[in-house]
């Protein structure tokens, strides 16, 4: 009983340490281009996607297993994409087919 309690406390205290290593990777959109356009990340990281451009953008991933649509972001708006799964996927924009970034998430 007492042993169990200690174990629970240990895992709980281990968590914050693990998450503090997670990085927030800024991605910008000025001039209708994602920057950086190639992103190496690890599980637990976040993409912080901010629309620092003068028109609307809409972050979208079609890759199977990673597919997500973050909705329209007006100039000045920021959204987060949590990277919880290893793999490689492309970030697109619903509105501008030429906007692309490649993300590689490692364990």
């Amino acid at each position: 009983m007492k042993g169990l309690r200690v174990a629970a406390l240990l895992t709980a205290s281990a968590l914050p340490a693990a998450t503090s290593m997670a990085e927030e990777i800024p991605v910008t959109m000025a001039g209708m281009a994602y920057a950086p356009a190639t992103i190496a990340a690890k599980i637990g990281d976040n993409l912080a996607l901010s629309n620092d451009d003068s028109e609307d953008h809409n972050v979208f991933v079609a890759t199977v297993g990673h597919a997500v649509d973050l909705g329209t972001q007006k100039p000045g708006e920021a959204r987060k994409l949590a990277l919880a799964k290893a793999g490689r996927f492309e970030v697109e924009c619903v509105i501008h087919p030429e906007m692309k970034a490649i993300v590689e998430v490692q364990q």
């Binding site: 979208f60 890759t63 199977v64 949590a82």
Partner: protein, 179 residues
């Protein structure tokens, strides 16, 4: 007087002809057995709307769709929207891969279908010309969604003219979807 009437009639006729005939649920049906017969090829999380969208393709088209080629005539794509699970504190529930957890609550259905002749019948301006694709929207109970602004389907899907007007399927085939 007589002449005026004729002009008015002619104008009326012109309006009737110009009114686009696109995207009628009469033309693009909701395939009855899509849940059992179609191939579920992808699902897209929409955290902004607290939805998960499931993507289906008809097996006949999927069997012959090839990377880099325009999609076969007769391709039917169905997108099925579900509510995502939300915890008691109002946050979206995530699985171990960070994906949303779909519930059984269906919120709506979207269909796009490619048939020879649809494009000519649609007669849309170049900025909305989606080739031989046509679109329809249905409510969760399968009845036509008469509130859907179908012209917007064409306008937005236009941005993917380079991959046969689809956001997911063409790219997923190119990436190597299992047959």
């Amino acid at each position: 007087m007589r002449r005026q009437l004729i002009v008015a009639l002619a104008a009326g006729a012109a309006v009737a002809v110009a009114a686009p005939l696109f995207a009628t649920p009469d033309r693009v049906k909701l395939p009855e057995a899509y849940k059992t017969d179609f191939v579920l090829y992808n699902h897209v999380d929409r955290p902004d709307r607290k939805r998960v969208r499931f993507m289906y393709v008809n097996p006949e088209a999927h069997a012959i769709a090839e990377p880099g080629k325009v999609l076969p005539e007769g391709t039917v794509l169905v997108m099925e929207d579900h509510e995502a699970a939300v915890s008691a504190d109002g946050n979206l529930v995530l699985d171990k891969d960070g994906r949303l957890a779909p519930t059984d609550a269906l919120t709506g259905l979207f269909v796009m279908e490619k048939r020879a002749g649809f494009g000519a019948a649609n007669d849309l301006p170049p900025e909305k010309d989606n080739g031989d694709w046509d679109y329809a929207a249905y409510k969760a109970d399968g009845s036509p969604n008469t509130e859907a602004k179908l012209e917007n389907c064409f306008a937005c899907h236009m941005s993917r003219s380079g991959r046969d007007f689809t956001f997911t399927y063409f790219k997923n085939v190119e990436d190597g979807l299992p047959k």
